[in-house]
């Protein structure tokens, strides 16, 4: 029994020593509590599990170390002969069961609340595809894609890495404070997982399924996460950024998006009416290519291996315009080459095709106008 008391005492000492820096270093060494009521509860459950493990660990390892010290041959040359005790077997079966029941209760109640998707104030449909997120606000109809914004040069170590390296996007998901927001999560191609640690929301995006999750965010700010399920080549490059604004600001943002969508429609009509020059198209085309195509086909148009073919000198990029247009707009089935018609404007598609046909080793001198793309839709 002396050893048990000794183990307890040393365990307590370590606990006290450990818990002091623990609070200060929480962000670096421990799960952060996040910002929602639910994420705080989840962190508390984690913390409870951690303490249970630490205390049991200290007790068991304490007894082990004491035994290794006191029951070594030099100190205890004659071993004891006991090898059975039904009583202790029953004790160390029942006591852990009681501890487990105590742990299961808060986990059960929290889980029940996490899975309660009823009575939401608004709904966002999240659709994952390789390797970007698409957000659609079902209540207002606004939708957009969200791509990684970290430049390739930073990834290739040609430029210093920014503060939010790999955790920055072009169009963040904008959400209001203090609303019960329901997420519907699905995917177009492979399985992805939408994870925002500060909300404690992680939901797999599975083709053919629509999963549900929800959150209620009490504070404004920018929150960052990543795709959490291996989804192919650029799995590491699929960040999530959420911009939380006060309700009034959020409403204004929705309105501005609606106006922007209208203006984009008018601009598209104007773009169709205009005849664009080669130089104009090349400039827009290069920007579009770098943002969307260079991920796989590379800036120099040389592609990456067999799976991501080179465009420089390729049959499609130097062959019939209709085939090239078809491949870009409709994609290639069962590969990462996706249909770009729903993602890009007429002008962008016209420009990127013009760019691909007149860059690197490709010198077709073809100019594709937005009206051609419009008619092909």
């Amino acid at each position: 029994m002396t050893s048990l008391a000794g183990g307890l005492k040393s365990g307590l000492c370590v606990l006290i020593v450990w818990s002091v820096p623990h609070a200060a270093l929480a962000s670096k060494f421990n799960m952060r509590p996040g910002i929602t009521e639910m994420s705080v509860r989840v962190q508390q459950i984690h913390q409870m599990g951690l303490w249970v493990c630490i205390i049991i660990g200290l007790l068991v390892f304490g007894v082990m170390f004491y035994s290794m010290f006191a029951h070594r041959r030099s100190r205890n040359p004659v071993p004891a002969t006991f090898s059975e005790s039904l009583t202790v077997e029953i004790i160390w079966t029942l006591v852990p069961i009681l501890i487990l029941v105590a742990m299961a209760i808060p986990a059960t109640t929290a889980l029940r609340d996490i899975e309660d998707n009823e009575d939401s104030d608004m709904t966002v449909l999240i659709t994952a595809s390789q390797w970007k997120w698409h957000y659609k606000y079902l209540d207002s109809g606004i939708s957009f894609y969200s791509n990684i914004a970290t430049p390739q040069e930073q990834i290739d170590n040609l430029e210093p890495k920014g503060e939010y390296y790999l955790l920055e996007v072009d169009n963040p998901l904008v959400l209001p404070t203090n609303k019960k927001i329901r997420f519907l999560v699905t995917a177009d191609d492979v399985i992805h997982s939408w994870w925002l640690p500060d909300f404690a929301v992680k939901q797999d995006a599975i083709p053919g399924f629509i999963n549900e999750a929800w959150t209620r965010i009490p504070v404004t700010g920018i929150f960052r996460g990543q795709c959490a399920e291996l989804c192919g080549l650029k799995h590491a490059y699929m960040p999530i950024v959420v911009d939380v604004r006060p309700e009034a600001e959020f409403d204004a943002w929705i309105e501005s998006q609606r106006i922007a969508a209208e203006l984009a429609g008018e601009a598209a009509v104007a773009a169709r009416a205009k005849t664009w020059t080669m130089n104009e198209l090349l400039t827009i085309g290069e920007a579009t290519f770098v943002k969307h195509c260079a991920t796989c086909h590379e800036r120099d148009g040389m592609g990456q291996g067999d799976k991501y073919p080179a465009l420089s000198g390729s049959e499609i990029a130097t062959g019939a315009i209709e085939d090239h247009l078809g491949r870009v707009m409709e994609g290639k089935a069962d590969t990462e080459m996706q249909a770009w018609a729903p993602q890009l404007s007429d002008l962008e598609i016209a420009a990127v095709i013009t760019y691909e046909r007149n860059s690197w080793n490709n010198n077709t001198d073809d100019i594709i106008q937005p009206i051609t793309v419009y008619e092909a839709r």
């Binding site: 249970v52 399985i191 959490a228």
Partner: protein
């Protein structure tokens, strides 16, 4: 005719004779040796892959290997370590030890034993050859989730499927052989409750194997027909279900993780009593606990899938069942500690590895308990916390268990003692490196770093650097292990038959090195003898 055959035999080139001996051997000890060397070789290949990944992860940004190759190396590392290192190592140990521990002359089905080994080199050659194929090696992780592995998988996926089939056939045959041997070939008087615990844990493992390997074969066959014969088992566009893939895979996968640890439990249960010079505490409860763990392993597969959108009821049920596994696992740990308690311990290398096994496996068990809590699992799932968890149960668990077994039984196998000083250095270096590699992964995971990424944001840099340095040290340390083993095989102090002062069991009654054929007349186990 006889004379003729003999002349042919004499004229054989020595190299041919050597090849024929190992190709056609049906001896359990020689086949055990083959399994162990295959496992050792693949350990270095798969380990080099891990070191390559850690090289890329040393700093944020892409420096050494591009994401395409990273995903391939990641996949092959996992597949090789699971199917090529841990499983063959345990089967090799079973081949060497089970007949000697139960007083049998050989395995029950020696020709099948030969076949089940010789399938493996071809299976792994096929798997490794995918690196050089057009489109590269499989790149979807060792869990090969559909549709990433079906619709979007590279052409080499078919070689992977065939390779998995071969490994599966090999495992099923090996398992049948072990079950038949244990049930039919125990020495007279050796009742089930007198069997050494290593034999018990392998008997249970073998049952797990024959139950789940066909499930794995089923799921890869469904993949094959999805890829080539127009079925849509896992393709949502054709009315299939990608989540069903995960259910089937993990119905195999969860018992599989116990296949990779139960023989390790057996090894620790042999070694700790030997060096504590005291009988194993709670033999019966150890057997019952192992059976309970095996049974529970069939009903907890869903805990790998909490984020797939399971209904609340399923989440709760699987959480409770998963937490329940902590009880028999705890019983095992408590029994080991009670075995040590008031013993008369010495700390030779096998004992050091066995104690390292118990302690660090327990740390992995703790994080496993935390992962069972579904609300917290939403935060841990698919992060480095999970990577830390399963490497703690597999490296200091399965791998340290195997190393403990090798140090423990090597003198019996080759007749020479290994270099004790080097063995201890190996243990301490490996222990430091394992913890340096995998402990920081808990922190990166809790801070929000997803697993299976070749590049990460700046906040994770410090801990990744530590993990990388630990991984390289860990890899290099195993070269020392190879040196120690070869040195012991070539020369060393002669081992006695008993080898270890406190060792008990039939394998210690035969000479060291163990002759090729042992127990051709079965030993008689006295009625009052205990396990």
């Amino acid at each position: 005719m006889v004379a003729h055959a003999q002349t042919i035999h004499k004229q054989r080139h020595p190299l041919l004779a050597f090849a024929a001996r190992w190709l056609f051997t049906t001896n359990h000890k020689e086949i055990g040796t083959l399994y162990l060397w295959l496992s050792f070789g693949l350990f270095f290949i798969a380990g080099s892959m891990a070191m390559l990944m850690r090289l890329e992860l040393f700093e944020p940004g892409i420096q050494f290997i591009d994401p395409i190759f990273y995903n391939q190396v990641l996949t092959l590392h996992g597949l090789l370590m699971v199917f090529g290192v841990v499983m063959p190592a345990f089967v090799g140990l079973a081949n060497w030890q089970i007949p000697m521990m139960i007083g049998a002359p050989d395995m029950a089905l020696p020709r099948m034993n030969n076949f089940s080994f010789w399938l493996l080199p071809f299976a792994f050659a096929m798997l490794l050859s995918t690196i050089f194929m057009e489109g590269g090696a499989p790149n979807f992780g060792w869990t090969f989730y559909a549709p990433l592995s079906t619709t979007y998988g590279p052409p080499s996926t078919d070689f992977f499927i065939l390779g998995v089939h071969l490994m599966g056939i090999s495992s099923i045959m090996g398992a049948i052989n072990i079950i038949v041997t244990i049930i039919n070939m125990r020495a007279p008087g050796m009742t089930y409750m007198k069997m050494p615990l290593f034999v018990w844990t392998w008997l249970i493992t073998a049952f797990l194997l024959i139950m789940v390997m066909p499930v794995l074969a089923g799921v890869v066959t469904m993949m094959l027909t999805d890829r080539h014969f127009g079925t849509s088992f896992f393709d949502a566009a054709g009315g299939g279900d990608p989540v069903m893939f995960q259910h089937i895979f993990w119905f195999f996968g969860h018992p599989e993780v116990y296949i990779m640890i139960l023989p390790g439990f057996g090894i620790a249960s042999q070694i700790i009593p030997t060096f504590a010079r005291k009988k194993l505490f709670g033999y019966r409860s150890m057997v019952y606990a192992t059976i309970s763990i095996a049974v529970l392993s069939f009903v907890v597969w869903g805990h790998h899938m909490f984020t797939t959108g399971m209904p609340l009821f399923a989440e709760l049920l699987i959480m409770y069942l998963t937490m329940l596994i902590a009880v028999p696992t705890g019983v095992k740990v408590f029994n080991w500690v009670a075995t040590m308690w008031r013993g008369s311990m010495t700390f030779e290398t096998p004992m050091l590895f066995a104690i390292g096994f118990v302690m660090m496996f327990t740390i992995g068990g703790f994080s496993g308990l935390m992962l069972a809590l579904v609300p917290a699992d939403f935060q841990y799932h698919d992060t480095y916390f999970v990577v830390a968890h399963f490497h703690y149960v597999l490296y200091p668990g399965a791998i340290f268990g195997t190393m403990a077994a090798v140090y423990y039984w090597l003198p019996k196998w080759c007749g020479n003692m290994y270099d004790e000083r080097l063995g201890k250095i190996h243990f301490w270096l490996a222990t430091i490196a394992v913890n340096l590699t995998f402990f920081p992964m808990h922190f990166t995971g809790l801070a929000g770093m997803p697993r299976r990424i070749p590049d990460y944001s700046l906040q994770f840099a410090d801990f990744n650097r530590m993990s990388s340095m630990g991984a390289w040290l860990l890899g290099l340390t195993q070269v020392l292990f190879l040196y120690i083993v070869i040195k012991a095989i070539r020369k060393g102090a002669k081992a006695t038959d008993q080898v270890w002062e406190g060792a008990e069991g039939l394998e210690w009654t035969i000479p060291s090195p163990a002759p090729l054929h042992t127990f051709q007349t079965p030993p008689i186990i006295a009625e009052d003898a205990v396990h």
